[in-house]
Symmetry: C2
Subunit: 191 residues, 2 copies
């Protein structure tokens, strides 16, 4: 998606060979108009898949997912990284390692909000090794829901998360796929 | 706002005298169409305030705030509860106690995304004692930004956070104000 690629070139900052900071528009400050354009593109690519629920993971996926839900006309559920005092009910649970934080979290979704009648589109801001997506996919499977696919804003395609899912037959639509990046050479995108 | 009050009556669950679970539509599963209607109401109430930035706090404020940003046509910033490996830059910081979690967090906003040219509308899902709003207000002051006001989805008006801010002259627009609630008697709203 050219609009997102141009925005990454304009406002993204590469640190070393594996960190891309996009906190000017994606995951600290957020540009809702860009998110709407991204949501329209996913809507086009998942037309016919009868998506009726968006699933994401806190925190930085929530903003994108909520606008995707608005465009698809369906509810959004975010997997929580810890349980609060006022959510004691039964949950599905998966374990996720965060690439950026380097920590392992249990993520949970209430059984009330994911089930066999759901046709799920997973949305997240980044995919690298695919740990978050794999955790969310395991929640979808545990719930007996149908997985329509995975929508990622920025895929670090030089890491293997996206292709591993595609090899399993999962439809992964990444709006910007980074082939190479470095501080000195900048970013190249894959088609 | 009648639409939100009706939804709370329909889908909210009161536990004891001080916990209201609205995770069916507000802060675990989220209804983006409802958020859009809420955003339109805040847009009406803050017309003329020239809001050019939305500020919220992770995690459950992000979805509402992002749709508010879409309706206001401006960027959204969320205060982060912990620092990730890839955000080492200078930040504004405040300390916030979570009513629901019972824990104290440092919340941060990058100095790049909040400054004197910003006219800020703070958005959050709940207000009880006002700890989160006070933390965000202190970030706005520290940044030298202008505070247009605070938009809250559900104010527990039997607690003192909202009125304390109003007594300081801050414009607080809560879309549903709970006067009383209990498991046996249900919920009453203030006008």
């Amino acid at each position: 998606m050219k609009l997102l690629e141009e925005r990454i070139r304009q406002d993204g900052i590469v640190i070393g060979d594996d960190i891309l900071k996009v906190d000017r528009f994606l995951n600290h400050q957020m540009d809702p108009a860009l998110f709407q354009a991204m949501a329209e593109e996913w809507k086009r690519q998942f037309a016919g898949d009868h998506v009726n629920k968006i699933l994401t993971i806190e925190a930085s996926g929530i903003g994108i997912a909520c606008i995707v839900g608005l465009v698809f006309g369906c509810p959004v559920v975010f997997a929580k990284k810890s349980k609060t005092r006022n959510t004691p009910e039964e949950c599905y649970m998966a374990t996720v390692r965060s690439f950026t934080r380097g920590i392992i979290s249990d993520v949970t979704v209430s059984k009330k909000y994911l089930g066999p009648s759901d046709r799920v589109l997973i949305i997240d801001d980044f995919m690298a090794t695919g740990e978050a997506a794999n955790g969310l996919i395991s929640l979808v499977k545990e719930a007996g829901a149908h997985l329509c696919g995975v929508g990622i804003a920025i895929e670090k395609a030089f890491q293997q998360g996206g292709n591993a899912l595609r090899e399993e037959g999962i439809k992964v639509v990444s709006l910007a796929r980074i082939g190479t990046m470095s501080e000195s050479e900048g970013i190249s995108f894959l088609d």
